[in-house]
Structure formats: structure tokens, C-alpha cells
């Protein structure tokens, strides 16, 4: 069959609003007028994720990539390219600084995502160990066990600059070193798969799409620190991820990639699953360990840190799913390769769950240091229905809001913290002009109050008090001194709570006051929260996306 010619017109919302529909119709009509309607198929497609250069038209098989096309340009594309086969140089995309036009893979930033952690998601059958191996799986473990010392593995992670993706961003190699240095004979590796932020589903997607990557990394961790047993703490609400993990463990054991004497190295490692019942606090590492031990999942004082005194009092490495999933690639491609991705203080990539008032919601993986503007307006395709952007909530119930004036901040662990938010696990909920920030804060505070384990006073009582004050504001009954009261209680919680849940719980409220104090003030004068209850509803509706 002769190769078909396709003319693809971006039908993404951003392009649609800049005449892509007219462009599409023009091309169709003009092709028909020249008798070419049969030989070229014109197709409207989903968003190309390069919205700042839209409307975009692509021609296949030539791989021509036309940007900022206007309805007046279509005649030239049809006559020159589609009829005569000559590319329209004037419209073809040139990379900044490039002399010649760019096409195909030369367009290095046309697709802004870089999939390292998600490298196999959507690619392999997660239920087939053969396919994982076919993509280079278990090569890293093989190399580590055959050719590398524990110190070499640690050095590679240090070169990579890998930091924990669970939220706090602690350097992974340091964590592993603490456990390696401990002299106990029994040590453990634990994978934290207790993903609980509303709107976050990156860990679930990794486990469902590429379960072996996590098992392989756990075995590498076991070898490095001297552990022979791993546990994956996963919530029972993730039945498909559990099923695929169980299958993966069975398959890996069947061919000797887990179990005794792996790769004939004398190293043995087993992985078992432990189920969580869906308590948010069990994502906190000390509470998680208590839960694995069969106790009530409440946090305990640190230090001692689990790296030294963890599960059943033994040194325990605890890493998040996303942190682990990237490790096999760091071993095979090298720490230097990884360190070149991302920002200076936060190398590598980060997976974000982009949800809320955004056209292309979904899971994205981008190099650290990308701006929020790129994420929201290019990859995300902007805000639906022509509404104005208002804020992005990052870090879920522990994070805060980032407003328009900070859209150009490169995103990494430090910058987000500097903005009064945090990386968290990577949830990003986009809000538009209709959303009330008071209601968004109230939603998250209510979540934190529900999920507080009640062990320490600042979290248990402070959270409740802030929640009540926010309710007052959302009913238009806030009093001027209440703003200050929220801030005071919030600061007490930050200083006095036992674990990360409590210390970060007031963040959504504090951040909304920092950036949207005027909404609180307006709610007092109008007697009702600005714009009603849209925000809370939005957060509720959009949280479980994916």
C-alpha cells in the first residue's frame, strides 16, 4: 500500500480558540477544490502540547511541523505542500537559534515531557516479566550483583543526586548509607505505596504499569544496605496494583530474579505485600512501620530514624514508589546522565498528576525546574472555557497555592517550599477564577482533620480549630481577628506537631491567607464567601481523576 498522506490539524482547546477549526475547514475545502480530497486525509487531533506555538498543522509522512498557522496560510500549505510536495519553509518550526527548520526528533522541546520513571508505562504488558526484561529490566540488578560493590551503588546514587519523591526530598543515598552503616544483621527495605493525597495517582500508575521496576529497585536497595527482606506497604484500595505486584513477585521468583542466590551472587531477597486500610497518616514512615507491625498506625517520635531503628526495631530503608522506580535506570544509564536532567538542587524528573480546571488532565513526567507556566499552559493545554487561571495547589493537603505571579518559577523542592507550598507526592490541582480559595482551604483542612490520628494535641485540636474558623469565613461570618487566629494556630501546629501530617496540615489555610487575604476580607464585608462554594466542589469532583 502506498504511504497515506495525512494532514493533522491540532484540535486542542488552545488551538481551537485561535482558528484551528477554520484552518481545518479551509484545508478540506481547498483540497476538494483541487481534486485531492481522496489522496490526503485531513484529521483533527487532540492537543499537541505545544500551545504557545499554535495553531499547529502537521503533515505526514514528511513530518513537517507548521506553527502559528493562520486561516490565510492554508492555501499555501495545500498548493505547495499537499499538491506539489514542497514544504512551506516560512511556516515550518525553527528551534530558537537554529538556522534550519526542525522536524521529527530534532524538535527537542516540542514534547516537554521526559519519561524516566514512567518509561515502561503504556509500553509493556505489566503482567509480563518477559516484556520488562525485553526493555532492559533486571539488567541493573544483574550488574549490581555481578560487578558493583555497595559503595559503588551509593556513589552512583549520589552522583545522580536522587532525592526522595515522596515529598520531603531527602537524598536517597544518605538514607541508604545510614542503614548500611548499621551493624544489625537483620535489616529491611520498605516501599511506601500508601498514596493518599486527593488527586494523586502517580504511584498507583507506576505499580499498575511497571511493577517490576519497583521490585528490581528494592532488591538493589537490599543488596546495598544488607537487607534480605522487603515489604511493600500498599493500600487495599488499589486492587489492580496489588494483583499485578503479586503476579510480578511470583514471576520474578519463578525465574530466580527474586528469592535465593540471585544471579548466583549469594544474595537473597524476598518481597511481601502488606496492606493498608486507607489511613492517610500511614504514609508517614513511622506510622507506616507501626501498621506493618500490626499495631495501630500512629507516628512515633524521631529520632531514632527508621534508617537506624525501623521495622521491629531493625534498620529500615523506606522509599516511595516513584523514587524506587527510577533507580534501575540510574544504574544502567549512570548517575551523571540522570543528574543532567532537572534543576541544580533537584536533579531528575518528577511525575505530576495534573487535575482540576485544566484541558489535558493526566499524569505527566517532566524534568525538575520546568516552570508552572509550561506545565499548565503547554502540557496541560490551559484552562477550559476561556476562564482565567487563578492558582495551582501543589503538595495536596500538606501544600499550598501558587498564584499567577509565580507561574514562571522553575519547579523543584526548594522553590516550592520558598513559595509556601511543597512538592508533596506531586498532585497539582489547577483552579480558575470561579474557585473560592477559602473553600479550597476548608476542603483540605477538613481532610487533614479527618485523617489526623489524634495522638498529638497541636494536630488534633489545632486542625479542628482552623477548620471551624474557615467554615465561619465560608459562611461570611468571619471576624477580622480570625485571620490572625488561623495564622497563630497554624504556626503552633507547625512547631508542635509530632509528625509531618500535623506540621504541614495548616499549610493550605496559611497559603490561602498569604496569597488571597483579600478573599477573606471580602467575605467579611459581603457576608458570603466570594464566588460561593465552587472551590470545594471543584476539589471534590476533580480529586479522584485518573
Amino acid at each position: 500500500m502506498a504511504q497515506s498522506v495525512f494532514c493533522l490539524v491540532c484540535g486542542g482547546t488552545a488551538c481551537e480558540s485561535s482558528d484551528s477549526d477554520t484552518i481545518y475547514k479551509n484545508i478540506k475545502t481547498q483540497l476538494a477544490g483541487r481534486g485531492f480530497e481522496e489522496s490526503v486525509q485531513v484529521v483533527k487531533t487532540g492537543c499537541f502540547g505545544f500551545c504557545e506555538q499554535g495553531p499547529i498543522v502537521k503533515v505526514l509522512p514528511d513530518e513537517s511541523f507548521y506553527v502559528q498557522v493562520t486561516p490565510e496560510d492554508t492555501e499555501e500549505i495545500v498548493d505547495e505542500h499537499l499538491v506539489k510536495g514542497r514544504e512551506v519553509q516560512r511556516l515550518a518550526y525553527k528551534e530558537p537559534g537554529a538556522e534550519t527548520i526542525s522536524r521529527g526528533h530534532q524538535i527537542s522541546f516540542y514534547q516537554k515531557q521526559v519519561r524516566v520513571v514512567l518509561r515502561n508505562c503504556g509500553f509493556i504488558d505489566p503482567e509480563s516479566i518477559d516484556e520488562y526484561i525485553g526493555r532492559g529490566g533486571y539488567e541493573a540488578l544483574g550488574r549490581v550483583l555481578s560487578d558493583m560493590s555497595a559503595d559503588e551503588v551509593l556513589a552512583e546514587l549520589e552522583t545522580a543526586g536522587l532525592r526522595g519523591r515522596g515529598g520531603a526530598g531527602f537524598p536517597t543515598h544518605k538514607k541508604w548509607r545510614f542503614t548500611k552503616a548499621a551493624t544489625d544483621t537483620q535489616k529491611y527495605v520498605v516501599c511506601n505505596a500508601d498514596e493518599g493525597d486527593p488527586g494523586a495517582y502517580m504511584d498507583r500508575s507506576i505499580l499498575e504499569g511497571d511493577p517490576h521496576s519497583v521490585l528490581e529497585a528494592m532488591a538493589i536497595a537490599g543488596y546495598t544496605v544488607g537487607a534480605d527482606q522487603g515489604y511493600i506497604y500498599i493500600r487495599a484500595e488499589y486492587p489492580l496494583a496489588i494483583e499485578r505486584l503479586q503476579m510480578a513477585i511470583r514471576d520474578a521468583e519463578a525465574i530466580g530474579l527474586l528469592g535465593d542466590n540471585i544471579f548466583d551472587s549469594g544474595f537473597s531477597f524476598r518481597v511481601e505485600l502488606r496492606y493498608g486500610a486507607g489511613a492517610f497518616v500511614c504514609g508517614e514512615e513511622t506510622a507506616l512501620l507501626k501498621s506493618i507491625e500490626g499495631d495501630r498506625g500512629t507516628p512515633v517520635q524521631r529520632p531514632p530514624y527508621p534508617a537506624v531503628k525501623g521495622l521491629w526495631g531493625k534498620p529500615t530503608v523506606i522509599n516511595n514508589v516513584e523514587t524506587l522506580a527510577g533507580i534501575p535506570v540510574i544504574i544502567t544509564k549512570g548517575g551523571e546522565w540522570y543528574a543532567r536532567l532537572g534543576s541544580e538542587t533537584s536533579p531528575g524528573t518528577k511525575v505530576f498528576a495534573l487535575t482540576g480546571k485544566i484541558n489535558n488532565s493526566g499524569l505527566i513526567e517532566v524534568p525538575m525546574g520546568m516552570t508552572l507556566r509550561d506545565i499548565v499552559f503547554n502540557i496541560g493545554g490551559g484552562i477550559p472555557d476561556g476562564k482565567a487561571f487563578k492558582a495551582v495547589q501543589t503538595g495536596g493537603p500538606s501544600g499550598g497555592m501558587i498564584t499567577e505571579e509565580y507561574l514562571d518559577t522553575p519547579i523543584d523542592f526548594e522553590t516550592l517550599q520558598g513559595l509556601g507550598s511543597m512538592m508533596g507526592s506531586g498532585g497539582m490541582i489547577v483552579m480558575d477564577e470561579d474557585d473560592s480559595m477559602i473553600d479550597v482551604a476548608k476542603f483540605y483542612l477538613s481532610f487533614n482533620v479527618d485523617e489526623s490520628c489524634g495522638k498529638c494535641v497541636p494536630c488534633r485540636i489545632g486542625g479542628r480549630q482552623i477548620q471551624k474558623l474557615l467554615e465561619r469565613f465560608s459562611k461570611g461570618q468571619g471576624r477580622p481577628e480570625d485571620i490572625e487566629r488561623i495564622e497563630t494556630i497554624g504556626n503552633w501546629m507547625k512547631q508542635g506537631s509530632l509528625c509531618g501530617l500535623g506540621t504541614t496540615a495548616p499549610n493550605p489555610a496559611l497559603s490561602s491567607i498569604t496569597h488571597f487575604r483579600h478573599e477573606y476580607e471580602a467575605s467579611m464585608s459581603t457576608g458570603a464567601a466570594e464566588e460561593g462554594a465552587g472551590g470545594e466542589q471543584a476539589a471534590k469532583n476533580e480529586a479522584p481523576a485518573g
Partner: protein, 156 residues
């Protein structure tokens, strides 16, 4: 359980080579096409199982026994789920979104058999395959940045 001899790194690499060619992106292991359905929780919730069934039925009905039908986790474009990717020798993989059982049938009859794309259901691959040496596995063969390039990009 019987004593099993541990796998060596060489054996693993041999397995990899065998499987790699089967997973082959350019030539689909003797199949005329490889069709992959995104079957994560969200994909299934939006109807991926029904899409899988519809694809199997239509491939059967058309007698296309040389087309391979398989599953994967999520492709990342959750808002466009259910998603179906079709790899052929004709061009780089094409990702179809918003696929209903009806659209699934059209993927077989219109795209796989007649090489016609389906209006409003072609979406872009979210990113290039980091293992693809020539960087050419984005949808429609256009655009992808290789993971290796990204480091240079930030300096630019």
C-alpha cells in the same frame, strides 16, 4: 521444591535480546500491527475492557489473526481514556483517545485495514521513548525530545 540453577546475567541478556525483537517497535514481530490498550485503573474505569473486547471481536470478524492485541498500564493521557495505541510498519505508533467500542471497531476497519486516521480520536504521545535511540517514536513520528537531549535543553 527442586533445586534450581540461578539465572546468570548472560542468560538474562539473552532473554532480553529475544524479547526485544518481539517487542520490536519498527517491525512488529511478524505481526502486521500491534494494538495496545491502556489498562490501568482509570483506563478500565472509563471502559478499556469493553474496548479490548470490541477490538478482539472486530479483529476476529475481519480475520486479522496476524494482529497482536495486548494490554499495558496507563499511557499518561488520562483525560483521553480509554486509549489505544497502534504500531504498524507504516509509521510511528499512533495513539487513539476517547475510544469507545464503536471507535475500536473503526480502528480496525479504517486504520489497520485502510490506513485512514479517525477524526477527533488521534492524540499525541505524551513523550518520547527514552530507550529509542533515534528518538522517533512519538505519535506520527514527530517531535519527541530524547531523554538524552533534555540535559542540554536546560542549559540552552
Amino acid at each position: 521444591m527442586a533445586e534450581r540453577k540461578p539465572m546468570t546475567l548472560e542468560e538474562l541478556r539473552k532473554m532480553r535480546r529475544e524479547k526485544e525483537s518481539q517487542l520490536g517497535r519498527r517491525e512488529a514481530s511478524g505481526s502486521t500491527a500491534v494494538v495496545t490498550v491502556g489498562m490501568g485503573t482509570s483506563g478500565i474505569a472509563s471502559g478499556a475492557k469493553e474496548v479490548m473486547t470490541a477490538l478482539a471481536d472486530e479483529l476476529d470478524a475481519q480475520g486479522l489473526s496476524d494482529v497482536q492485541l495486548r494490554q499495558a498500564g496507563g499511557f499518561g493521557a488520562q483525560s483521553a481514556e480509554p486509549t489505544v495505541e497502534v504500531r504498524t510498519e507504516r509509521r510511528a505508533p499512533v495513539l487513539f483517545g476517547y475510544v469507545t467500542p464503536e471507535v475500536a471497531k473503526r480502528i480496525v476497519t479504517e486504520y489497520i485495514i485502510n490506513d485512514r486516521l479517525i477524526e477527533n480520536h488521534v492524540i499525541d504521545h505524551p513523550a518520547a521513548d527514552m530507550f529509542d535511540a533515534d528518538g522517533g517514536s512519538g505519535a506520527h513520528g514527530t517531535g519527541p525530545a530524547r531523554a538524552d537531549d533534555a540535559g542540554d535543553e536546560k542549559e540552552a
